[in-house]
Subunit: 589 residues, 2 copies
Amino acid sequence: MLRTHTCGELRIENVNTTVTISGWVQGVRDKGSLLWIDLRDRYGITQITIETEKADKSLIEIARSLGREYVISVTGKVLERYSKSEKLPTGDIEIYPDKITILNSALIPPFTIEDETDGGDDIRMKYRYLDLRRNTVRKNLELRHRLSIETRNYLDKLNFIEVETPVLIKSTPEGARDFVVPSRMHQGEFYALPQSPQTFKQLLMVGGFDRYYQIVKCFRDEDLRADRQPEFTQIDCEMAFVEQEDILQTFEGLIRHLFLAVKGVQIPELTRITYADAMNYYGSDKPDIRFEMKFVYLKSAAAENANNLVNGAGFKVFDAAQIVVGICAKGAAEYSRKQLDELTEFIKRPQIGATGLVYARYNADGTIKSSVDKFFDEAALKKWAIAFGAQPGDLMLILAGEQNKTRKALSELRLEMGTRMGLRDKKKFACHWVIDFPLLEWSEETSRFHAMHHPFTSPKPEDIKLLASVPGEVRANAYDMVINGVEVGGGSIRIFNKQLQSRMFDLLGFSKEDAEAQFGFLMNAFEYGAPPHGGIAFGFDRLCSLFGGADVIRDFIAFPKNNSGRDVMIDSPSPIAKTQLIELGIPLS
Amino acid sequence: MLRTHTCGELRIENVNTTVTISGWVQGVRDKGSLLWIDLRDRYGITQITIETEKADKSLIEIARSLGREYVISVTGKVLERYSKSEKLPTGDIEIYPDKITILNSALIPPFTIEDETDGGDDIRMKYRYLDLRRNTVRKNLELRHRLSIETRNYLDKLNFIEVETPVLIKSTPEGARDFVVPSRMHQGEFYALPQSPQTFKQLLMVGGFDRYYQIVKCFRDEDLRADRQPEFTQIDCEMAFVEQEDILQTFEGLIRHLFLAVKGVQIPELTRITYADAMNYYGSDKPDIRFEMKFVYLKSAAAENANNLVNGAGFKVFDAAQIVVGICAKGAAEYSRKQLDELTEFIKRPQIGATGLVYARYNADGTIKSSVDKFFDEAALKKWAIAFGAQPGDLMLILAGEQNKTRKALSELRLEMGTRMGLRDKKKFACHWVIDFPLLEWSEETSRFHAMHHPFTSPKPEDIKLLASVPGEVRANAYDMVINGVEVGGGSIRIFNKQLQSRMFDLLGFSKEDAEAQFGFLMNAFEYGAPPHGGIAFGFDRLCSLFGGADVIRDFIAFPKNNSGRDVMIDSPSPIAKTQLIELGIPLS
């Protein structure tokens, strides 16, 4: 037996017992007469103490030969420490060894195995197996495990059953790019890896499995942004005989359960914001509502604009703008010229693309000074202040331009101000639903409508009459769950009627033949008694990072790929043997 | 709200309440004055009763328009039945409807949705979503869910953590054929889908995650036999700081927990059989020990053969044979000529390939008659009977020939006799370990040794000295768990030392360069403090079918592929668009 206890469990009650523990040498301190070894495993650190004047010579020799990260096994007696350590749970005791066995030696690691390491991203990824030894990374994966266990517990209690859907499925052009797998037995044909188990979970509903879930790998062959992985994990769920309200209740319950069970945090009932309101007040379909700072319009795009507070003052930028909209930063009137310049730089960056920032300071003395004093006198600015609900000491930040672009830019500025003002505490969690998404969005690039959620999403019954005339205004029974400005999950009530599904494919520009070839099996299934159904999917990697208070998902994945989709540890992708290509019928280039 | 209750939960306590239930029409019985609808969902069947003389006309009209598998919602009052049904848990009540809503109509299904269906395999697979509505299929998947939940519960309690390993990995030629995935971003390079997470779980051990598991999809591009799927699921486990005994104890615990928690069956401690004994006494490394019927040797391959009971009688077949070995079928002496002919046919089939069967009947009157009476008199046969432990009434069945082939054939005959004699009850479970597997097996085809388990398996320390001289005799710290003659799991203690791993690759015919290119990352990892470790993987599909008392795994997979790797429901694999091939840099043929 290589251990009787872990390095994290010995306590004062174990004193005078003989134990064996195994682990990695975290460090050795040699003071001549006394020599200490810190032995580490996943569960903690235990101190081994050797009195060199009393101990066996061979034992001392072994102890002095140990390097960092050597793997050893130690048998000895547990004794009470003379000077206890409150930092370690095992700090009351130490082990006086009778025997130390070196199980494996170790080269000096290329970076330190500490919470704050000296290793950069690249070296940590290449030696991920060493990076995993660090407390911080290990705790992330333990958190991930705990979240998956609690997700299953919650759903299992509600009669959901986990069903594994296939990984080798069929390529469909709608949505992102598929990874494909050439078939050897059917040369020239391919499987595709699933972007989600969408059609299968709907077929399970047709099959009577009225409550399905799966924690499942999905795949997307996209050019990777910083926080995307080619393979990612979803909590994928579907329910039959439900309306939107049932789904919102059920999965609001899930997230509240997870916060309580995993983090001990009580989350209040989730507020619901319509897509229209989210865009109107936050310029985003995933607003961070940890802080207020709602948009205030000095001029809006609506035809009859009673609240127009800017036109006719001779300021061309405002006069020409479709909207003039701003936010009020409480207590930020003292922002320096430099700080305001930084904000202007920020919103002018290409990825945001605004052309300029107007500000108005509501000074503590009651005066208001703006960057557009030439056009607006104090009386006009006071009206702005009333509209903004601004108080002396507040700063108003205003953008102008085309509606969608300006809202988007102001949304970024709002988040930036939230960050600067310390309003986005990672230990606080604001969860809400965004509902009533549009069914379709127009793509200038392809000159056609695309499904905003996916082609299986049901329009709101009361909006179906608009499908023929103004499809862009049809709202869907679709919803996203947003936590701290991050979309952690999204779903919809599905179409369960062949005619409506077929009409939807029409609208999305599918020919009858393409729709039949790609989704014929689903539309056929709808003819054999499909129940009303709907579902949701959570991005599990992102949910984990959010629970862990981190920004990047990579630290919550055991073996992630880098931004070019490469696993630098195993060096994959890589060339394969010619014989493999020949067997697959792939011509050699 | 589409339902207040499921179709399986209403009881006598619910009488006089108004409820809404939804489901599929299992059937309608129309007796004129009374009309019944059986409404079915995943949870059960509830009877809807309409008294046509009292009920609303439109209601009756709807009821009479219903076809099989229509999806409806019914609101009405729960009443106590006049004649109760004991067959149904809901048999005490019925619902008198106020309202019936047709949620969806249904074409007549291509086969009956009953436990015993009239649908053949092909049609059931094409309409799998209808097949899934059948009780039997649904129960299989519910069993699968229960097994996965209980597996996780057991392992979680023992501090195992589930870690997701990547699906897009690297192709390696050792083992079965990989499925590969062309990389778009790195043209000409490929990912491979994992045949198992073997190297990753070992790296997790190096990374300090001393107890890992994962219920995970694996992939193998093999020509499919009846009971193989290109994608299959494993319960994959690994532990560090363990010896073989720790692993056997832990996973024996798992299987006993599963039997108790899921089936209420107490499994005794698992017996252990060495590979050598398994081959010697059962001719198989996965013997079915629900019944005894051990092999008895009348002549063995050992050089000094004290027990030779057949040589020198002039029967050339026995004289020329390397071994003469048989089984004793208790109470089968009355087998007819026809039955014995059937057995002879059985062992002569090409897939078994024996040339002939010798039998000896120990008649109830104490005489013994054999098919080789010409060569062996009653005295000789009596000696056989003693060797076999045969009693009057028993039948001895004997094969002769080359050792491996003959044992294999007799193993098949033993199983056949077990089946014929009713000794293989699917509701009885005999679990055991097979241990001490050989490390290597010689392949005539490739003229080299192959790893019997896999290249990472550790030889027994006491056998390492034989590696240079007689590698074929080296035993491994490898073990299989066998239930009812089915290998449900297998694993080994791993090599954790770079030199030994490198020597192993040598033995398997890897060049230094190939070993480095394919497994360099693992051997490097071994240099940075790898702990002793080992693990096991269970075939989850097979485990489910075993728990379900079935022979085929396909009925325990929601959407299986057929024997040519095709999903006939979604019609996959299938051709992909030229643009996809071009993006992937795959030349068009």
